[in-house]
């Protein structure tokens, strides 16, 4: 054991309360800068995770845009599928074996994947009308 001289008052029965205050003040004086360090550390951590959050939000937005594009493509492909089914019905019922309608259908089939949405809608309506006419007679 080593006994050294300091400014901390020795504790005796008479000065016990005063000693407690002095000791507490000393602790606070030494500990407070450490709390500030902890506080600043937490503020720094907030900045860091805020950046991470922004980055994640950016990726989520990119994925969302990608999914929207895929959904549009899927909806378009569903329209193509519907139009093909209607053309199949027309072919099966023998409606497209005459000259002009046959060549129009062949052209339509060849360009079907390049048609705009509006054109697809137009052909869907047109084929539906032909099918209705054909089957309302029977």
């Amino acid at each position: 054991m080593k006994i050294i001289q300091t400014k901390i008052p020795d504790v005796s029965k008479e000065n016990i309360d005063q000693s407690k205050v002095v000791l507490a003040d000393n602790i606070i004086q030494n500990v407070y800068p450490l709390f500030d360090e902890v506080y600043q550390g937490k503020i720094g951590h907030i900045d860091e995770i805020k950046k991470r959050l922004q980055n994640k939000k950016r990726i989520v937005n990119e994925k969302k845009e990608n999914l929207e594009q895929l959904m549009d493509e899927y909806e378009r492909e569903k329209k193509v599928s519907k139009l093909l089914s209607r053309i199949e019905k027309l072919v099966d019922s023998g409606l497209v074996y005459d000259g002009s309608l046959k060549s129009q259908t062949v052209i339509l089939l060849k360009v079907i994947n390049k048609l705009s949405d509006d054109k697809l809608d137009h052909h869907l309506t047109e084929t539906m009308q032909i099918i209705r006419k054909r089957f309302s007679r029977t």
Binding site: M1, V38, I46, K56, I59, E88, V91, V96
Partner: protein, 96 residues
């Protein structure tokens, strides 16, 4: 006067954050502790941002599953459309 015990295990610098954290845990139970509100606010902000990050992670996971599902459906639909288109062109006697 101070009594020093040389054989006493010295606290290493690496343990300082844990010690400060422990002292803070005790101090923050005191309503007069001035840093209490600031620290509580910072902790709340940290928790809130971390929750938001977890939410974004969940969204990313969901988008990954959705993407896989959609790509698979789209590929299948494209293939069946292609088959039907080829069949119809064949039936109408057109060269592909």
């Amino acid at each position: 006067m101070k009594i020093e015990y040389p054989e006493k295990k010295r606290v290493t610098k690496e343990m300082l954050p844990q010690i400060v954290e422990r002292i803070f845990a005790i101090c923050k139970t005191d309503s007069n502790f001035p840093l209490k509100n600031k620290m509580t606010n910072v902790d709340e902000r940290l928790t809130s941002i971390q929750k938001n990050i977890e939410k974004q992670d969940n969204l990313l996971q969901q988008s990954k599953t959705l993407n896989q599902n959609l790509v698979s459906r789209l590929t299948s639909l494209k293939n069946s459309n292609q088959e039907l288109r080829d069949k119809l062109l064949d039936m109408l006697g057109s060269e592909l």
